[in-house]
């Protein structure tokens, strides 16, 4: 049994009496401990798909099974990192992390929660900033706190919706490597199942075991591609290999062939 099974998912939206289909008949599955990226151009429904996994949205048709059980609303088995910093502005960094822990571990007392929070803030390199409010932190730092919170909650599944989409290129690279390192771990603990939404092909290749490419109007799965590179991965080494470039070109070709198909192959504006 797969960890997550997405079965014939269809989502229709009605806005101002016009309905459109955000997702149509989307099916794929994700194994336990697998890192899956969902990529596609904007409007392909990848964020809608994730919002259903989060439990914030409900599908019009079809279902998602986690450990064989259909999703009903949000759940403590899933941790979420949004693109737009999801921290609570009235809580300091460590309070934000501790608040997340409190929602999952009901029995843990305050001192212990703060201790765990500090530990995870340390992992993302923010121990000195733990008493700062989000407004006093840069976008990248806020996202580190959000990741620390999601990891500290120690959920089986991690859902990430373009978490580095609004961060400058240099910090994005640093954060990708941090996430890779934290997720791969030292091999002593089982890896979490991750669903990672992005529109950045390099990001998807670096991080994922499998890439699900989606296409827009209506949102459908276009291709599922296994990423053949060994772990632990290292960006600097990986990008130099021939295999990487070959794989990347293949993905790019798929990505743009989909776009060309959509607009009739006449004109491709990149």
């Amino acid at each position: 049994m797969s960890k997550i099974e997405i079965k014939n998912l269809t989502v229709d939206y009605t806005e101002k009496k016009k309905s459109f289909t955000a997702l149509k008949d989307v099916s794929f599955s994700i194994e336990e401990g697998e890192f899956v990226s969902v990529i596609g151009s904007s409007g392909c429904g990848k964020s809608t798909l994730l919002s259903i996994l989060e439990g914030i949205n409900t599908p019009t048709d079809g279902k998602i099974l986690i450990d064989g059980e259909p999703i009903r609303g949000t759940g403590t088995n899933r941790g979420v990192v949004f693109q737009h910093y999801s921290l609570f502005p009235w809580m300091t960094a460590r309070k934000n992390v501790a608040f997340g822990i409190k929602q999952v571990y009901k029995g843990v007392n305050r001192a212990e929660r703060l201790k765990i929070a500090d530990e995870f803030l340390g992992k993302v390199g923010l121990e000195q900033f733990r008493n700062k409010y989000p407004s006093q932190l840069s976008g990248g730092m806020q996202q580190r706190v959000a990741i620390a919170r999601a990891l500290a909650m120690d959920t089986d599944i991690l859902l990430m919706d373009e978490p580095f989409g609004a961060i400058d290129a240099k910090n994005r690279t640093i954060l990708q490597e941090l996430l890779l390192e934290l997720w791969e771990g030292d091999g002593t603990k089982a890896r979490k199942t991750v669903v990672f939404v992005t529109h950045d092909i390099d990001e998807a290749i670096l991080l994922s075991d499998k890439i699900v490419m989606m296409t827009a109007n209506p949102g459908r799965v276009y291709q599922e591609i296994e990423v053949p590179f060994d772990r632990p991965r290292n960006r600097a080494n990986l990008v130099q290999t021939k295999e990487y470039n070959k794989f990347r070109n293949k993905l790019l070709a798929l990505f743009y062939s989909d776009i060309a198909e959509k607009i009739g192959g006449e004109e491709v504006v990149l």
Partner: protein, 306 residues
């Protein structure tokens, strides 16, 4: 700041002017209690000098000095127009020294009246907040009740609370309970409205962030919605506080046996305008003081805002 910037200021020149005009003989017959005015001004001057020595930012000192300059200017004009040249009706315009003397000699009575007024305000005001905030959170959060409640509160909140006084007097046994009730109403509606509109305007991303953390309903209301709508709640609280003062002092002038409004009304009925002016100044000081504390609380609770 240089020594010159710190101490070489118009305000000190005005201080000396004020002392010098004391050498003009009083034209007003009767006691003018000039020494009280002089001691008051000397006290303010000492404070100004201490402040000048300690403050770090020139902007703050400028502001402080300007305010003190205004006070000195006002007192100088007041002394000249009353005690020194007797330009105004002495019964209506007592000299400042006499006002300060009266304030000092009435110290205990004034203190009791302040206590009475603040006691009523705090009771009605806090009761209003304690009931309106949780109710507003709950109503704002439940979409359907919330939109109905908005209209109801707009209608009921539009009725000026002062018109409830006659009805309140019929309903409730004592003047004090009527005052508390009216202040409660004056606070309740704006705070309820502020809380509800605060909750309804919380950003979706904040709500989603809380939802995916699987928070309970109570946590959602009190740990998320409450802080997220705090700024709007404070707008309501501020409005309630302002109206409460107006209401209480008016109500005290109508039917009370204590309080600052009563103090002012009672003595002006007897033609004792010195005490009337004392009352006006005390009301001003009390309101400024309470607003100051209120602002401090607000700043502290909203310290996370940029």
């Amino acid at each position: 700041m240089t020594v010159k910037q710190r101490y070489c200021r118009v305000v000190h020149a005005l201080f000396i002017v004020f002392l010098l005009i004391q050498f003009i003989p009083d034209k007003l017959s009767g006691e003018t209690y000039s020494s009280y005015a002089i001691w008051f001004v000397v006290g303010v001057e000492v404070l100004t000098l201490i402040f000048s020595a300690l403050i770090k930012k020139p902007v703050g000192l400028n502001l402080f000095a300007d305010i003190v300059t205004f006070i000195y200017g006002l007192l100088t004009a007041w002394v000249l127009a009353t005690a020194k040249f007797n330009l105004l009706k002495p019964a209506l315009f007592p000299p400042p020294g006499k006002v300060f003397w009266q304030a000092v000699s009435d110290y205990e009575k004034i203190f009791v009246n302040i206590q009475s007024s603040i006691g009523i305000i705090l009771q009605g005001y806090l009761l209003g907040i304690v009931i309106a905030v949780p109710l507003g959170l709950f109503l704002g959060w439940s979409a359907r009740l919330g939109s109905a409640a908005t209209y109801v509160s707009k209608f009921l909140g539009a009725i000026p609370p002062i018109v409830y006084i006659p009805y309140g007097i019929a309903l409730l046994p004592t003047f004090r309970s009527v005052s508390v009730f009216v202040i409660f109403l004056a606070t309740f509606w704006p705070v309820l409205g502020g809380t509800m509109s605060g909750v309804m305007n919380v950003e979706k991303k904040t709500i989603d962030s809380a939802k995916v953390l699987n928070v309970s309903r109570l946590t959602m209301l009190f740990s998320i919605m409450l802080p997220a709508s705090l700024q709007q709640i404070f707008i309501g609280c501020n409005q309630g506080l302002t109206v409460s003062f107006v209401l209480l002092t008016s109500a005290e002038m109508i039917g009370a046996q204590s309080g600052l409004g009563y103090y002012i009304k009672n003595y002006s009925d007897f033609g004792d305008y010195t005490r009337t002016i004392v009352g006006l100044i005390v009301v001003g000081i009390v309101i400024v003081f309470i607003s100051f504390i209120f602002n401090r609380i607000q700043k502290f609770l909203l310290r996370w805002k940029v």
